[in-house]
Symmetry: C2
Subunit: 181 residues, 2 copies
DNA sequence: ACCTGAACACCGTTCAAGT
DNA sequence: ACCTGAACACCGTTCAAGT
C-alpha cells in the first residue's frame, strides 16, 4: 500500500497512464496502439512508460486487472437480478472492450505474463460459476461442464457481432439449461 | 484455372510458399513469424513474397483457405460417424493450429480482408450446422441457437488447453442436447 | 527516484533496377 | 513476368545522461 506522498504520487501517475492506455486500447485495439501513442496521450516521453511498466504486456495486464475488478464489483451489486440479466449486462459492458478478449488470447502465445494472467482469470471465473451453480443444487460434475460451456458461449458472444435479439435468445437458452425441463 | 506452363509454375511456387508459411504459422504463431522468415524458409528474397501475395494478411488467408478446405473434405468422408466423433476429430486436427483461431479474431480488427474471410467462414459454417440440425428434425429457431452455441463452444475448446477427458465430456454434453431427454 | 533524447534491432512493405 | 538489394517508416525497448 501507499505509505507516503512519493508512493501516492507514483500510484497516481500509474493510474493516469492506465487510464490513457485503457482508452486507446479500447478505441484502436492493443496492437494498433503504440507505446509512443500512449506516452504522447499521457504527456510523457515514450521511454518514461518503462519506469512504470516492465513492457507493453504488463501495461495490458494492468488495464485488464482494473477492468475485471470494476466489472466484478458491479456484478456483485447485482446478485438479486436473474442470471440472464447479469449476463446480458456483462455483454453490454464489454461492447466497447470486446477486442481485449481476443487480444488476451493472442498475447497468451507470446507472453508468459499474459498466459499466467489468462490462466488465473479462467480459474477464478470457473470457481465462481461452479460455486453459483452448485449453490442452485446442480451436482459438481454437471456444474463443471456448464461453467466451461457458459464461459465459451459468453466469450463467443463477446468476440462476434450479434444483434441484441440474438444475444437474448442465446443467453436465455443458456440460463434455462439448469432449470427443470 | 491454370491454362499454360507459366500459370502452373506460378501456382506451384505459390503452393510452396503457402506450405512453408503454414508450417511456420503453426509452429511459432502468425505474429511471431516474420515475412523475412517465411521468405528465408522458402529460399527467396523477402520482397519476392509480395509478387505472390498482396501482404501478410493475404498470405494468412491463403493458408486458412487451404486448411479449411482440407478439414471440410476430411469431414465429408466421415458423415457415417456420429457427430460427437466428428467434433472430437476436429478438435484433434486443430491441436497444432489452435493459435490460428485466435489469430483470425485478432486480425479481424486490423484487416478488412481477414474480416471478410471471417464473416464468410462463420456464415458458411452456420449454414452447414443449421442444415444438419434441421435435417435431424430440429425446428429452425432452435437450430439457429444451437449452431451459434456449438460454434462458440468448439472455438473455446480449440483456443484453451483441455485434457482429452474434459473435451469428451463437453462434446458429449453438446451433442446430446438435440436428443430427446 | 524519475525522466529524457538518442539509439538499437526488428518489422512489413516499397522502389528502382535487373533478367 | 519475375526476382532482388537497398531503402523507408514504424515498432518495442534500452542506454547514457540529466535532475
Amino acid at each position: 500500500m501507499a505509505r507516503n506522498k512519493r508512493d501516492i504520487d507514483r500510484q497516481l501517475k500509474r493510474d493516469t497512464i492506465e487510464d490513457v492506455a485503457c482508452g486507446l486500447f479500447m478505441a484502436q485495439g492493443y496492437e494498433a496502439t503504440s507505446m509512443a501513442g500512449v506516452a504522447a496521450a499521457a504527456g510523457v516521453a515514450p521511454n518514461t512508460l518503462y519506469w512504470y511498466f516492465a513492457n507493453k504486456d504488463e501495461l495490458l495486464i494492468a488495464v485488464l486487472d482494473r477492468m475485471v475488478g470494476r466489472v466484478f464489483e458491479a456484478l456483485a451489486g447485482m446478485q438479486h437480478k436473474p442470471l440472464s440479466a447479469r449476463l446480458l449486462w456483462l455483454l453490454k459492458a464489454f461492447d466497447q472492450a470486446s477486442g481485449l478478449v481476443t487480444t488476451v488470447h493472442a498475447r497468451v502465445e507470446q507472453s508468459d505474463a499474459v498466459r499466467d494472467w489468462h490462466e488465473r482469470f479462467h480459474r477464478a471465473l470457473d470457481a465462481l460459476l461452479v460455486e453459483q451453480l452448485t449453490a442452485q443444487g446442480m451436482d459438481a460434475q454437471q456444474a463443471a461442464t456448464m461453467a466451461t460451456v457458459g464461459t465459451y458461449v459468453m466469450e463467443g458472444l463477446m468476440s462476434h457481432p450479434h444483434s441484441a435479439r440474438e444475444r437474448e435468445t442465446v443467453v436465455r437458452w443458456l440460463t434455462s439449461l439448469g432449470l427443470p425441463a
